[in-house]
């Protein structure tokens, strides 16, 4: 490839800008990591930038032995696993019939579901329904009201529609039922989009906090993000009962450690799913 002078200047400038941009995303995380591993004196003296000073794991020890952290972690894992499972089952089950063009009324059902993306009863009426269905202060209040995401449903439905009809027809000739066709033809073919959508749901459950703010008041049922929010917004970090063993740490380092503990699970799943989701979302977007 022949490159002119202006061409290579363009490339350098572009690369430099993109590098700066990437650094703006990575550096804050490195700063937080450094803080979480540093000791009190250096943090208070604002000496920590990107490298820990007075290296120790005490903040992590404190966070990991905290009872509330465990309750919250358990709740969030339950949320992410069970919630995603429920969501995927109802989403896939609905996406299949809705992807059948010949099914009478399927357009109407689709419309009914899509309307909920654009119009909603709002915060208060939803709260009242959750209350009346007896879900207040239960982990289910964080799952059932958001179990079905119309957006995710559309993505999976579009994926199903793209599956060639001939595959299905040959199975039909062999006498396969609808459920059978879904299970043994559509699902195996849709692994990338199923993985992507599962990730979307799981991340959604893991990251949700505003529902918890509305529906959960008992500490026992608070998910991780809610616990973090209290740590983050409460400057005094009231419930920190720092004993002598942990004299080396401050609310700041504890906050940093807790933030990282909440992010690490996502960063662990991310590389495995990542290769799928660009592909997944593009296929969905094409026909959306």
């Amino acid at each position: 490839m022949i490159r002119t002078r202006s061409e290579s200047i363009f490339q350098y400038v572009n690369a430099a800008l993109l590098t700066l941009l990437s650094l703006s995303i990575i550096l804050p995380f490195i700063h937080i990591i450094a803080k979480s591993l540093s000791s009190e004196a250096y943090v208070l003296a604002k000496e920590i930038v990107f490298w820990p000073k007075g290296f120790n794991f005490l903040s992590y020890e404190y966070v990991l032995q905290n009872k509330q952290f465990y309750h919250s972690l358990t709740n969030s894992i339950f949320l992410a696993v069970v919630g995603t499972l429920i969501s995927m089952i109802i989403t896939v089950l609905a996406a299949y019939p809705l992807s059948r063009k010949h099914l009478p009324l399927s357009r109407m059902f689709m419309l009914l579901i899509i309307i909920t993306m654009f119009f909603s009863g709002g915060i208060i009426p939803t709260y009242l329904i959750v209350k009346e269905t007896g879900l207040l202060n239960s982990i289910w209040s964080l799952i059932l009201p958001v179990a079905l995401s119309p957006f995710n449903l559309i993505l999976i439905r579009n994926f199903f529609q793209a599956v060639p009809d001939s595959l299905e027809e040959s199975a039909r000739i062999d006498g396969a039922s609808n459920i059978r066709v879904l299970m043994s033809i559509y699902l195996p073919l849709s692994v990338p989009s199923i993985a992507t959508i599962s990730m979307f749901y799981a991340v959604g459950y893991w990251n949700s906090f505003f529902q918890a703010m509305m529906y959960i008041t008992e500490r026992r049922w608070m998910p991780m993000q809610m616990y973090l929010l209290q740590l983050v917004t409460d400057e005094r970090t009231a419930d920190l009962n720092i004993s002598d063993v942990f004299r080396e740490i401050t609310p700041e380092t504890i906050r940093a450690a807790a933030i990282l503990c909440a992010v690490i699970p996502i960063l662990c799943v991310y590389p495995f799913i990542q290769k799928y989701f660009v592909q997944g979302i593009m296929l969905g977007a094409e026909k959306g």
């Binding site: 202006s6 061409e7 490339q11 572009n14 690369a15 993109l18 590098t19 941009l21 990437s22 995303i25 804050p28 700063h31 943090v43 208070l44 604002k46 930038v49 089952i89 109802i90 089950l93 609905a94 019939p97 059948r100 099914l103 009478p104 059902f109 009914l112 579901i113 909920t116 009863g121 709002g122 915060i123 208060i124 009426p125 939803t126 709260y127 009242l128 329904i129 959750v130 269905t133 059932l144 009201p145 179990a147 079905l148 459920i179 990251n207 949700s208 906090f209 505003f210 993000q225 973090l228 983050v232 700041e252 906050r255 940093a256 933030i259 909440a262 992010v263 960063l267 593009m282 094409e286």
Partner: protein, 309 residues
């Protein structure tokens, strides 16, 4: 293949019966949206009632438009509307072009490994909650202990109270929103850019067009329809200024510039149990949002684009 009944309900009934298993699969999804989406839509009638939690939605007395009158004469409401629209428009003006720019830059990048690396890094924040992002931002910008203010002080300036100063707060919302979502938003434009026929670029090169000219005359027109659709969607959602973000980042000192309809409904509605009044505010928001969306969509259709629906 399938012969949908010619006339007569008997024939149609048997068609439905024939697909009973397909309809059965739809039941869970429909049940969930019926209970948790459509019942709350019915629940908006409390905007027209003096809702009493003991009496329930049905038995509370009707009060007509009382709550709406109250709302519009309320000193806080115009402020809340103004904040919602201003924050949203600021995000539109500065946040909408960002993913397009990023996608164009990534598309021009010839080292594919570097390109993929930047892409991966830039959409990581999308998967991190606002609580965490807010936590990091508050920490970085803190006037007493934040890294940014430390640099500002070292340069000889006074520390800046980014998160509690009315002059800066909205800009912080715009910047952090961009930081979190630009990389993710770029994906869809990148997909559209990949769809442009490479021969057009080759031809332009032969004609002596440099990179910037190619971007201006080929790349941008090539993703025009994607840009239009996403722009219309954004305009239709002008009343969604970023509920979760503001909930995490704001504090009482900046209510004046940061309180949007959603945060107001949340705080006053649930905090002070003002159910009727705040439901009216929420309904007002929903209704205007819907109208805007319909207008945006019909503009899209009229200008020859596909539209959202």
């Amino acid at each position: 293949m399938i012969n949908i009944g010619k006339k007569g309900s008997l024939r149609r009934g048997t068609t439905y019966l024939k697909y009973w298993d397909l309809y059965l699969m739809l039941v869970p999804a429909l049940l969930f949206i019926l209970v948790y989406k459509y019942l709350p839509m019915y629940g908006v009638v409390i905007a027209f009632k003096d809702f009493n939690i003991m009496k329930g939605i049905m038995n509370s007395p009707w009060v007509g438009l009382k709550h709406f009158q109250e709302l519009f004469t309320f000193a806080e409401f115009p402020r809340v509307i103004r904040n919602t629209v201003v924050i949203s428009l600021m995000k539109l003006a500065f946040g909408f072009p960002a993913p397009i720019l990023l996608a164009l830059m990534l598309n021009e990048m010839i080292f594919s490994r570097f390109k993929r690396l930047v892409q991966t890094v830039t959409y990581i924040p999308h998967f991190i909650s606002w609580v965490v992002v807010g936590g990091i931002v508050i920490d970085l910008l803190s006037p007493s202990s934040g890294m940014i203010n430390k640099f500002i002080e070292q340069l000889g300036f006074e520390p800046i109270f980014f998160m509690s100063d009315e002059r800066y707060f909205r800009w912080m919302l715009v910047i952090t929103d961009n930081w979190k979502e630009a990389g993710w938003g770029a994906i869809i434009y990148l997909a559209a850019l990949l769809g442009i026929n490479d021969e057009i670029f080759q031809a332009a090169k032969v004609d002596g067009a440099n990179r910037l000219r190619q971007i201006w005359h080929i790349s941008l027109p090539g993703i025009r329809s994607t840009i239009v659709i996403l722009l219309l969607l954004r305009i239709g959602n002008v009343f969604d200024a970023g509920f979760e973000q503001i909930l995490v980042m704001y504090n009482a000192t900046v209510y004046n510039v940061a309180d949007i309809i959603d945060t107001y409904v949340f705080r006053v509605g649930l905090g002070q149990m003002q159910f009727g009044l705040t439901t009216a505010a929420g309904l007002f928001k929903s209704a205007i949002g819907c109208v805007l969306l319909l207008i945006a969509n019909s503009i899209a259709r009229r200008s020859g684009e596909e539209g959202i629906f």
